[in-house]
C-alpha cells in the first residue's frame, strides 16, 4: 500500500506555531483587560458615573441689602434664563444657528459667547440669555424635544427698587469674567454668573452669595433627562444691613441734583455712614442685563464719570479745611496758644512774593479761633512760615490723612500728604520753605478724599479719637473700631471753638447754621487752576473757573453725634454752596434723631 497519509508534518508544525502565537497574544490582551478592568477600575467607574449623572446647579438667591430702617435696597426678582449644555451638542455651528434663530440672537454674538467659555468643562452650562419674556419661555418649553441642549431655569435676579439711589454704596453685579474664574477656582463660579463688581456688592460678595444647590439627574447620551436622582436645595445668601438711612440718603442726593460732588453723613460715635452720595449717580439695574455693550460704553464714556465713587476715589485739594490741621500742629508743638494773635492787612510779602488773603480789606489783628472762624489766610501763612512741612505731615497722618480710612468698601484711594521725603522721591528736589506756606492753607500738592475729611472731622468731634468709617450696621457686641491719636483733648477744644464760631458767630460757615443745634464746621474753597492762571484769565477779562466748594462739620458741639461733609465740584466758595447743603443735612438729622433736644432748643 502506498502511503495512506501524505506527509503533512511541515504544515502541522506551522499551524502549531501559529496557535502558540495566538495564545500568547490572547494572554497579553487579557493582561490589558486586567489593567483596564481591575487596575484602572476606579478611574473608569468615576467616568461612568459622570456619564450617567448630570449635575445642574440650582442657583442660590443672593442675600438682600437693607438700609438701617430695614427698607430693602437690593432685592431679588424671579427671572427666566436659558442656558446651553454644550455636552449635548452634536454639531456646533448648526446648533448655534438654530438656537440663535429660536431666541432671536445674533449668531456671531452667541458663537463668541460660547467660545468665551469653551475652556470650561463641557458639562458646565453657559447662560446665553436671561430675563426672558413669557412668550420666549413658552416657545422653548414647547420645543424642548428639538432642543435637548437648551435648559430653562428660573433664577433670582437682582433688583434695585430705588434705582439710582445709593448706587455708589450698593454697587452693581456683572458677569464674572473668564479671567476672574481662572483666578479664583475655589469660588466655583458658573460661566455667566453674576457677581458683585463694585461697592458693597463686591466687598460683601462672599457674604451675600449663597451656596448653590445641586440637581443630580440621569441622562441619556443625548443629554435628555431621564429623571431626578438627588436634589440639594440652595442656601440663600446672608442679608446685609447697611448703616445708610434712606431718608438722609435721598435728601442728600436731592441736594446734589445736577451737581458733581459728594456728601457724607457719618455717626461720629460709631463711624457708621448714614448717607454716602457721589453725584452723578447711575442705575445699577442696567448692569444686570446681558448683551448690551453699547449701554455699558455709554456709561463708561460719560464725562461726568457717574461710576466713579467720589467719596473714596475722588482726590481733591482740601483747601481751607486743612487749616484745622495746621492749627492743631501749631498748638501741639507749642508754636502758639489760642491767644496768639497775628495781624492781617489783606496781603503779606513772604519769600519775596505777595500773598493775599481771600478778604481783601484784611481781618486786622486776630487770634486762632477768630482766624478759623474767618478762615484767614494770612494768619495761617504766618504759621506756615514758622512750621516744618514734615511736622505738618506727621500730624496730618496722625489725624488720618494720606492713608486709606479702612472703610468696608473696595477701591479706596489714599490721597496725598506731601513731605520733604516725598518730594525728593518723586521729583528729586529738596523741599523749599515757600511751599510750606501753601500747604499750611491746604493748597499745594495736598490731596484728600471726602471720606478722609469726614473721618478727620469725626476725630476732631471725638477730641482725638479716630473712628473707622463703615457702611454696614455694627452687629452683636462688636464695637466700633477706635484709635487714639494721643493728642491732648484740650487742644481740640481750642480748634472746635473756632469751628463753632465759623457757623454760629457769622464766620465763613454760617450758611450751615441751624437754630438749636450746635454745629461746628469749617469751609474750604480750593482752586482748581493755579493762582497765576486765574489772575491771567482775569486780566484777559475772562471769568476764572470756579473753585471746588467744601464744608465739613459736626454737631452737637458737646457729645457730638453726627458729621456732615459736603464737596461740590466747581461750587464756588465753600461758605456759599457747601455750607447751606450741610445745614440742610444737619437739619434733617436733627429732626429724625435728636427730637428732644429740638424741643428744648426752641
Amino acid at each position: 500500500m502506498a502511503k495512506i497519509y501524505e506527509d503533512l508534518s511541515q504544515l502541522i508544525k506551522r499551524s502549531r506555531l501559529t496557535l502558540i502565537i495566538f495564545s500568547l497574544l490572547l494572554f497579553l490582551i487579557l493582561a490589558f483587560y486586567w489593567k483596564i478592568q481591575i487596575l484602572d477600575h476606579q478611574k473608569y467607574w468615576k467616568m461612568a458615573e459622570a456619564n450617567r449623572l448630570r449635575s445642574l446647579p440650582l442657583p442660590a438667591p443672593r442675600g438682600l441689602i437693607y438700609d438701617r430702617q430695614r427698607i430693602i435696597l437690593a432685592d431679588n426678582q424671579p427671572s427666566f434664563k436659558v442656558s446651553l449644555l454644550r455636552e449635548s451638542i452634536k454639531n456646533d455651528s448648526q446648533t448655534i444657528e438654530r438656537v440663535s434663530q429660536l431666541l432671536n440672537l445674533k449668531t456671531e454674538e452667541l458663537k463668541a459667547r460660547i467660545d468665551r467659555y469653551r475652556w470650561l468643562q463641557t458639562y458646565g452650562p453657559v447662560i446665553i440669555k436671561d430675563n426672558l419674556k413669557l412668550e420666549e419661555v413658552a416657545l422653548i418649553e414647547a420645543r424642548r424635544e428639538e432642543f435637548p441642549e437648551l435648559q430653562l431655569q428660573v433664577e433670582p435676579r437682582r433688583y434695585y427698587p430705588f434705582e439710582t439711589t445709593a448706587a455708589h454704596v450698593l454697587g452693581y453685579l456683572q458677569e464674572v469674567s473668564p479671567e476672574e474664574m481662572k483666578g479664583n477656582p475655589h469660588k466655583k463660579w458658573r460661566g455667566g454668573e453674576m457677581i458683585g463688581k463694585a461697592a458693597v456688592e463686591k466687598q460683601y460678595d462672599d457674604y451675600l452669595t449663597g451656596q448653590d444647590g445641586q440637581l443630580l439627574e440621569t441622562v441619556d447620551s443625548l443629554g435628555r433627562s431621564l429623571g431626578e436622582v438627588n436634589r440639594i436645595e440652595p442656601i440663600k445668601g446672608q442679608d446685609l444691613v447697611l448703616s445708610i438711612d434712606l431718608d438722609l440718603q435721598k435728601k442728600a442726593e436731592g441736594l446734589l441734583e445736577g451737581k458733581e460732588g459728594a456728601i457724607i453723613v457719618l455717626d461720629s460715635r460709631s463711624g457708621e455712614c448714614l448717607a454716602w452720595v457721589s453725584s452723578p449717580s447711575y442705575d445699577p439695574n442696567r448692569f444686570i442685563t446681558r448683551f448690551s455693550p453699547e449701554e455699558w460704553l455709554s456709561i463708561i464714556n460719560d464725562p461726568a464719570r457717574p461710576l466713579e465713587n467720589r467719596v473714596i476715589r475722588g482726590q481733591y485739594s482740601p483747601g481751607s479745611i486743612f487749616k484745622v490741621v495746621t492749627a492743631l500742629t501749631s498748638l501741639e508743638t507749642g508754636l502758639i496758644t489760642d491767644r496768639t494773635a497775628f495781624f492781617c492787612s489783606g496781603s503779606i510779602n513772604l519769600y519775596g512774593k505777595d500773598f493775599a488773603c481771600w478778604f481783601k480789606p484784611g481781618h486786622g489783628l486776630l487770634s486762632l479761633p477768630e482766624a478759623l472762624k474767618n478762615s484767614c489766610n494770612i494768619y495761617f501763612y504766618q504759621l506756615g512760615r514758622r512750621l516744618n512741612v514734615d511736622t505738618i505731615a506727621r500730624y496730618a497722618r496722625t489725624l488720618g490723612l494720606g492713608q486709606i480710612t479702612g472703610v468696608d468698601m473696595p477701591g479706596e484711594k489714599e490721597g496725598l500728604i506731601p513731605s520733604s521725603d516725598w518730594k525728593k522721591k518723586t521729583q528729586g528736589e529738596a523741599w523749599y520753605p515757600g511751599e510750606t506756606i501753601s500747604v499750611a492753607i491746604g493748597q499745594g500738592p495736598v490731596l484728600v478724599t471726602p471720606l478722609q475729611v469726614a473721618a478727620l472731622t469725626a476725630c476732631l468731634a471725638n477730641r482725638g479719637i479716630r473712628v473707622k468709617p463703615r457702611v454696614t450696621r455694627l452687629e452683636g457686641k462688636m464695637g466700633p473700631v477706635k484709635d487714639k491719636t494721643g493728642i491732648n483733648p484740650e487742644t481740640f477744644e481750642k480748634i472746635i471753638e473756632g469751628m463753632w464760631r465759623s457757623v454760629n458767630d457769622g464766620g465763613t460757615g454760617h450758611g450751615a447754621y441751624q437754630p438749636g443745634f450746635d454745629i461746628c464746621g469749617k469751609t474750604g474753597s480750593t482752586q482748581v487752576i493755579s493762582r497765576e492762571k486765574a489772575e491771567r484769565m482775569i486780566k484777559r477779562g475772562e471769568e476764572p473757573a470756579k473753585t471746588h466748594s467744601w464744608f465739613t462739620g459736626f454737631a452737637p458741639r458737646y457729645q457730638p453725634q453726627v458729621v456732615v461733609t459736603v464737596l461740590v465740584e466747581f461750587g464756588g466758595m465753600g461758605g456759599q454752596t457747601a455750607a447751606p447743603i450741610a445745614g440742610e443735612m444737619f437739619k434733617l438729622y436733627r429732626e429724625k434723631y435728636v427730637r428732644q433736644t429740638n424741643l428744648q432748643g426752641n
Binding site: L11, I12, F22, I29, Y33, W34, Q37, Y44, N51, R52
Partner: protein, 365 residues
Amino acid sequence: MLDRRIFKEIDWTTILLMVVISVIGIIFVHSAIYSQSSKYVWKQSVWLLVSLLALLILLVIDYKVLLSFAFPFYILMNLILAGLLIFGKPVANTRSWLVFGPFQFQPSELTKVAVILLLARLFSDYKEDQMSFKAFFLSSALVGLPFVLIALQPDLGTALTLVPVLLGTYILAGLPRRYLVVILIVSCLVGFIGWNYGLKDYQKKRIETLLVPDQDPRGAGYQLKQSRIALGSGGLTGKGYHKGTQSQLRFLPARHNDFILAVIGEDLGFLGILAVFLIYFIFLFRLFSAVQVSPDRGGVYIAFLSAMLIGCQFMINIMMIVGLFPITGIPIPFLSYGGSSLLTNFLIAGLVINVKMRRFAYIRF
C-alpha cells in the same frame, strides 16, 4: 456512497461551543438593547436555527466535493459582488446587502467561504516546502479581487477579514523571506495611495483616534472612550446583568454588534471577560487541532484558514474595543448581532468539522 459511520465522528463539542457562544451573544444583545430587544432576539434566534441547519447540511457534503466546486463558487460570488456595486441599492450608504423580504443578506460574508475553499483547492496539490513566486502572486491576486470589490461597497471592515485568510496561506505554504519585502513595499504603496485617495475621512479619523484617543471625545474617539469606560467601570465582577449603565443609558455605540463584548465586560466584569475568552480559546484550539488530524493537504488548508479567519476576527475585535487596534467595524464571530455573519461563521466552522469527521476516509473496511 454516504458512509453512516462518519456521522459518529461529528465534533459535537465544537458545535456546542458555537451554540453556547451564540446564545451568550443573544442574551447580551437583549441586555444591550432592552427597549427594542424582542425584535432583535427573535431575529437572531431564527438566524441561529437557520445556521445550525445549514451547518448540518454542509456536513453531509464531503469537503472534497466542495473543493471541486470551489472555482465556480468563487467566480459566482465575485460576480454577485460586482453586480451589487453596479445595480445594488445602497442601504445605510453601502451597497453590501441583498434583500429577501424580512431578511437581508451580505454576499460579502459568503465570499469568505468561497475564498477559503478556493485557496484550499489551489494549494491541495502544492507540495513544495516553500512558496513559489507564482503561487504567492496568484493567491494574493485571488484574495485581492474580492477584497477590492468589498472595500468599494464601501465595507473596509469585512474586506479586511479576508486578509487573515491570505496571511494563513502565506504561513502554511511557507512564505520565503524575500517576499516579505515585496509585501512591505506593496502595503506601503497601498497605504500611501489609500490614505490620500482611498480612505474616507471617517476612516482616517479612526486610525488617528487609535494614535491619539482623547483628541476628540465626541467624534471618533468617543466610541473607544465609551467602550473603555464600560469595561473599566465593570471591574472584577461587573454591575450585574442588564445593570450596565454605559449600555443601558446608550452611551456605548454599536453595543449589540461590534461592542457586545464591552457590554459583557460591564455587566459581568473581568470574570465575564475571562469566561468568554476561555470558551473562545477552547473553541479556537479545537479548530486549530483539526489541522493535525486532517487526512489531506486540502483539509489542512481548509481547517487552518478557517481557524485563522475566525481567530483573527476575534483577536481584532477584542483589541479594537480597548484601543489596541483601529475601530474597523469587525464583529466578534458568533457573539455579535448579525445574521449573515452568524451563518457564515457556522459554515466556516462547519468546514473544519467536515474535514475532521472525514479524517478516516482512506481506511475502508
